[in-house]
Amino acid sequence: MNKISIERLNFFYKDKQVIRDLSLEIEANKILSVFGPSNSGITTFLRSLNRLYDLVPEARMEGLILLDGKDIHAKDVSLTELRRRVGMVFDVPTPLPLSIFDNVAYGPRLGGVKSRAKLMETVEEALRMAALWDEVQNRLDIPAMSLSGGQQQRLCVARVLALKPEVVLLDRPCSGLDPISTAKIEESLCELKKRFTIVIAPHNVQQAGRISDRAAFMLSGELVEEDSAQMIFSNPKNSRTNDYITGRFG
């Protein structure tokens, strides 16, 4: 069984349709890139997977999203649990106004982990996975806001990993980052997929090519095609995909 199955997802803000009839299977322990030109509805798609759009009063969704075969909109689903299982990194760094340590420990602590030693262990593990530990291990108690943009973004990755999620959604995690930070994040992603299922909105087509196992091309709210990354980037079936990755539009 696939980790996430999406059946005929339609998404609206008020009357404006942002996602059209999208069906997609997401395999466990793979990296899926969802890419496309700006305004294709990619952020909306990612946020629908952990129901973050619940915050937007005028948003409306139709269709079915199954996580491990269970409807995420079912009445007995706890939003808290869903969002811990399906973690999200946003397209801009969003450090909380806390110390580095507390940014990472915040989720686990309020999720019920009380012992300082256990928290410390979780924080260290998460920071290592996000390739940030070496840079911050000596100053865990400084405000997260004083880190560089690239470090902040990796902190946000660590914060999500500390929740021990099953799926990690990354919305352009490398926008605004320098090539070295980007390389660090990409490297850790390839390591992380052994433990998590990763859905990423890549920074660009090149990045999608470097890191993905599967790739999905979205255009104006439609899923044009989804296939193995190799196929999509070398031999796409749809001409619109081909046009986009060869840079003929978008």
Binding site: L52, T80, E81, T94, L96, P97, L98, Y106, G107, L163
Partner: protein
């Protein structure tokens, strides 16, 4: 020509600013000059101008008691209202509540006092005993009066937090309440503190509302049902007929009040800047 106009209007604004500042300075100097001679004599426990006793300690205690009471009642209610308006109220409700609260701030304070006299005082008399004219009555009336200040400033503090604090926290699987309690309130702390301090400052300086409901007895209170007199009401009641040393003692009372409010306001400034 244009340059001349620029210069002229600059001068005019400067003159206007200067005159309002100098009026303030003049008032301060006036109070200090009038009150200074008696400032050394107001430290006692007993106020009886006819017998030359000018101790204002009972009034200081009265002011502190009533203000503290107002804060204890008004601050939690005000902050809860602000949280409700900023985080939970549907847009329509917010659009009704916000102007209503502004309106509350515009009601003359004597009206609050009158209302307190008609409803709070008899309620206390009937249910808790005593004359009803009491610290408790004053605290309730003042608490209501400072609500608009506390609510509107705290609400702004909450609404001006970057939206990603909330989204980020919810995305980490925290509930809305956990997010408010563990993240948003601490992040908005300095704004909320300023709201509280400004509210308290308003309570300390209030006269008309409390003059009607405190009973104005000059005595050190022994319970929240005791009648007290505050610094402001003392001045308000006696200034009309006071002469000589008595009048100077009232001016000295004014200096004490002035200093208290200055301290409170600078505290508010400090808290906001520290952020």
């Amino acid at each position: 020509m244009i340059k001349f106009k620029e210069k002229l209007s600059g001068r005019i604004f400067f003159a206007l600013a200067l005159s309002s500042i100098s009026v303030l300075a003049l008032i301060t100097v006036f109070i200090v000059v009038k009150g200074a001679p008696m400032l050394g004599a107001v430290g006692g426990l007993s106020w009886d101008p006819e017998y030359g006793e000018f101790g204002i300690i009972p009034m200081v205690i009265g002011t502190l008691a009533v203000t503290l009471g107002a804060a204890v009642i008004g601050v939690p209610v005000g902050i809860c209202c602000a949280i409700f308006l900023a985080e939970f109220a549907p847009l329509k409700m917010r659009n009704i509540f916000r102007p209503a609260i502004q309106l509350l701030a515009g009601i003359p304070s004597v009206v609050y006092g009158f209302w307190g006299l008609m409803f709070i005082v008899p309620f206390i008399r009937d249910h808790l005993g005593g004359a009803g004219l009491s610290i408790l009555a004053g605290s309730v009336v003042l608490a209501i009066m400072i609500l608009p200040t506390i609510i509107s400033i705290s609400e702004v503090a909450l609404l001006s937090l970057p939206p990603h604090y909330k989204t980020g926290s919810l995305a980490l699987g925290l509930t809305h309440w956990q997010t408010i309690y563990h993240l948003m309130l601490p992040a908005a702390k300095s704004g909320i503190m300023a709201a509280v301090i400004l509210g308290i400052g308003r309570a300390v300086g209030e006269t008309m509302a409390v003059i009607l409901v405190l009973g104005n007895a000059v005595a050190i209170p022994d319970s929240i049902l005791s009648s007290v007199r505050t610094l402001t009401t003392s001045i308000g009641i006696e200034m009309g007929y006071a002469e000589g040393m008595h009048q100077e003692a009232l001016f000295a009372t004014g200096i004490v009040l002035f200093v208290m409010i200055m301290i409170i306001n600078s505290l508010a400034q400090y808290v906001v800047r520290k952020k």
